[in-house]
């Protein structure tokens, strides 16, 4: 604790090449973290927490609290100044680059360019029983004030619900001659979603169907980057709605034909 009023001699300029966290003053680099160590709550434990924080790049960490969870586990709340910076100007993220259109723009685009209904099949697959995500995208009602695909005049939807096997999903997509397959994955523990998604792509490839459909995955832990890596055409995470995914697949369909 210091009463030095001149102590905060940080650079007053925002340097995007050396971006640092903001606590209460630009460039102060302040962060908070917490973690648990499987050791008793004593001085030695606190020292271990400090040492760990230092290795994380906080040269002078404050262990604000050490909380006993049980005799052998202690949780630490840590504050400190991080000595790392990142070059913000150098950051590239893979995002879906199709511009997001409104529902009416999408409908009009389908009329003008595709000239028939677009057929979409979707499901929450594998052992996943979560449907709220796929329903948010596909069902009439939509989510958070964004209507779902079912509402679109010229999009035909088949929402198969949850716990759908990859085999059944592909069969359905063939049956209804789908243009687009939508998959939702919520449970990610032990990468169960990755295994399932890879299996889906492998099945498609084995049957030489990969290019027959536009395949898209979404869910709270899905990013576009991950989706591309796994061989999907796109991935959508939180705060994405029907119009985001429809904008993408309609423009893709137009490119394809």
């Amino acid at each position: 604790m210091s009463y030095d009023l001149n102590g905060k001699n940080f650079d007053r300029n925002l340097d995007l090449k050396n971006l640092r966290p903001y606590g209460d003053t630009l460039n102060d680099g302040k962060v908070q973290i917490s973690f648990t160590l499987p050791v008793p709550n004593d001085e030695k434990g606190i020292e271990a927490a400090r040492a760990l924080a230092m290795k994380m790049g906080l040269p002078n960490p404050l262990i604000a609290e050490a909380i006993t969870l049980d005799p052998d586990h202690t949780m630490y709340v840590v504050y400190g100044t991080v000595n790392h910076t990142v070059d913000y100007t150098d950051i590239v993220v893979q995002t879906v680059d199709a511009p997001s259109l409104s529902r009416h723009e999408i409908e009009d685009l389908i009329d003008a360019e595709i000239k028939r209904d677009v057929i979409v099949v979707g499901a929450s697959t594998g052992t996943d029983a979560h449907t709220v995500g796929i329903d948010a995208i596909m069902n009439m009602k939509g989510f958070g004030g964004h209507y779902g695909l079912e509402r679109y005049r010229n999009i035909q939807t088949y929402n198969m619900g949850s716990q759908v096997s990859n085999e059944n999903l592909i069969r359905k997509a063939l049956d209804v001659q789908a243009d687009v397959i939508l998959i939702s994955q919520t449970v990610t523990q032990k990468d169960v979603h990755i295994h399932n998604l890879v299996h889906f792509i492998e099945l498609l490839e084995a049957e030489h169907l990969r290019h027959r459909f536009i395949v898209i995955v979404g869910g709270p832990r899905i990013s576009h980057e991950l989706a591309k890596e796994l061989g999907f055409d796109a991935g959508f995470g939180p705060r994405k709605y029907a119009e985001d995914v429809a904008s993408f697949f309609v423009q893709e369909l137009i490119h394809k034909t």
Partner: protein, 525 residues
């Protein structure tokens, strides 16, 4: 308890009567049917356990053998009795003998019920006395440590590995948890067999196996001795193996079981006919074993709106109460579910939650209600989440809910870390202490927002129950009345395991349990 809500008593009576009609209508269907899992449960109570080298449990081997030979409609008991009568090999060998083609029990004529009872009576009384002993052991723990008043703090463990679960569960008990629920692995509810032995590989949860139950029970008894508290153990008698898991829970002294066929129908797409029949036997087992059930209506509010659909939760609680009564459960065993799931952005949402929680307590005064924390509107903003959970804890304490499921600040992020659980317990203990008698001190304004809300939910629930009683439960589910999810009578998983009973059908286990339950011989809870 003096009513604070000025609830319309006539409506409560009406709602209860409609629910009675609805449940007894389904019960007629239940009484005429059996299922593969019901029959496997009979095997288990007769002492058949273990798996063959392909990992198939022997109860499955035996029941599948009868199913294949189209004999399941008689129940497995008569054939097992014949095996003992004619073949004279030990009962433990039956599974292997069927596997090896040495025994074909399906060829025997159906025995008279009395004869089945007498041949099997030794096996039945052995296993049922073990179950009764478990119930009295639980009671002796209560006698020794005292029974906690007020909300029981309930947390989950879900590492996927039973040995890691033990570490987490013990730490939670030290922090102050009264109840530990071991969440099941994704996908287990759709398995038509119960995995065997200790398991270390689960997704989003740990497999429910009898050995896992035993391991966790032992660990909780140990830590309970140290802490001088009884730590309750919970698992899921749900999915396609509902009654078998209830049996395992009864044998290993679980204290609570999630047990609700509507949850399976709506959230796992399990066939309605199958799971209604399964639920009945599992509830009789729970009734017999002194186990508290937890029902799943709280989940409706994850797929439908918590403000406009609150009455569906209440309606379902009424129906679950009647199903439980038909299975001879006491009200003290009915952990009916409800939840704090209103969108935090709704103006006066807290008042509605308080109204509904108080309403449930007044309508089901003897039931140890299971109150679920916010889940759907929890986000990655854990700091805000901690506040949401605090508000929930205030309602729980104020309305004195019995089974207090603790909200995790990381609900939207991952299955709980040890520290998440500790913070949750800390939050609940703080509010439970600082607001202990708050509920006794307050009254609600006459015809104010809270009283009006409670009566509105009750009105709507009564009206919904009236409609359901007119069209029947199957039709109501087909119309998507609960959780906005539609299911059909012949859809979903597990219908192929249902058989209409033959006139000579016999299930000596359930007969025996019901007889005792009606005679009131089982120990008090």
């Amino acid at each position: 308890m003096k009513s604070k809500l000025n609830l319309n008593k006539d409506n409560v009576d009406k709602a209860r009567n409609y629910a009675k009609l609805i449940a007894s209508d389904i019960q007629k269907f239940i009484n005429r049917h059996t299922t593969v899992s019901v029959e496997r449960t009979v095997c288990r109570f007769l002492g058949i356990d273990g798996v063959n080298e392909l990992g198939v449990p022997y109860p499955n081997v035996i029941v599948d053998h009868l199913l294949k030979n189209d004999k399941l409609q008689y129940g497995v008991a008569t054939f097992i009795a014949s095996y003992l009568k004619y073949e004279r090999f030990p009962l433990q060998d039956l599974g292997t003998r069927i596997d090896e083609g040495l025994s074909d029990i399906s060829k025997y004529d159906v025995l008279d019920k009395k004869e089945v009872y007498s041949i099997l009576s030794k096996y039945i009384s052995d296993s049922l006395s073990n179950v009764r002993q478990n119930a009295s052991l639980r009671q002796s723990y209560y006698d020794k440590f005292g029974k906690k008043e007020g909300p029981l703090l309930y947390v989950i463990v879900a590492t996927g590995n039973i040995y890691e679960d033990v570490v987490q569960a013990k730490a939670a008990a030290v922090s102050g948890a009264d109840v530990i629920a071991v969440i099941r692995s994704t996908g287990q509810s759709l398995l038509d067999f119960v995995p065997y032995g200790p398991t270390t590989e689960g997704f989003g949860g740990t497999y429910a196996t009898q050995e896992n139950f035993r391991i966790m029970r032992e660990a909780l008894d140990d830590i309970g001795e140290e802490l001088h508290r009884y730590i309750h153990l919970v698992n899921y008698a749900s999915g396609l193996c509902m009654p078998e898991i209830a049996a395992m829970g009864a044998m290993e002294r679980l204290d609570m079981m999630l047990n609700d066929s509507l949850y399976g129908i709506l959230f796992r797409d399990i066939n309605e006919q199958r799971t209604f029949v399964d639920q009945y036997f599992s509830r009789v087992i729970n009734a017999y074993a002194g186990i508290i059930i937890n029902t799943g209506e709280d989940n409706y509010l994850t797929t439908s709106d918590a403000v406009t659909e609150a009455h569906t939760v209440l309606a379902s609680q009424f129906i679950n109460e009647q199903f439980a009564k038909l299975a001879h459960m006491k009200e003290e065993q009915m952990g009916l579910g409800h939840a704090f799931e209103i969108d935090p952005d709704v103006e006066n949402g807290f008042l509605y939650e308080l109204a509904q929680a108080q309403m449930a307590r007044e309508i089901f005064p003897n039931a140890p209600l299971k109150y679920m924390p916010p889940t759907k509107h929890m986000t990655g903003n854990i700091f805000r989440g901690y506040v949401q959970n605090a508000l929930f804890n205030i309602v729980t304490t104020t309305t004195n809910q019995r089974i207090h499921l603790l909200g995790m600040l990381t609900e939207a992020v991952h299955t709980p870390y040890m520290s998440d659980r500790h913070l949750a317990i800390d939050n609940a203990k703080y509010i439970g202490t600082t607001m202990k008698n708050f509920g006794d001190e307050i009254q609600f304004k006459k015809n104010g927002i809270i009283q009006t809300r409670a009566n509105k939910v009750l009105d709507d629930a009564t009206e919904l129950l009236r409609e359901i009683s007119a069209i029947g439960m199957f039709e109501a589910i087909e119309r998507g009345v609960f959780a906005g999810i539609k299911r059909t009578k012949t859809g979903g998983k597990g219908l192929d395991g249902v058989r209409a009973k033959h006139a000579q059908y016999c299930n000596p286990i359930i007969d025996h349990m019901i007889k005792e339950l009606e005679g009131g011989e089982i120990d008090e809870l």
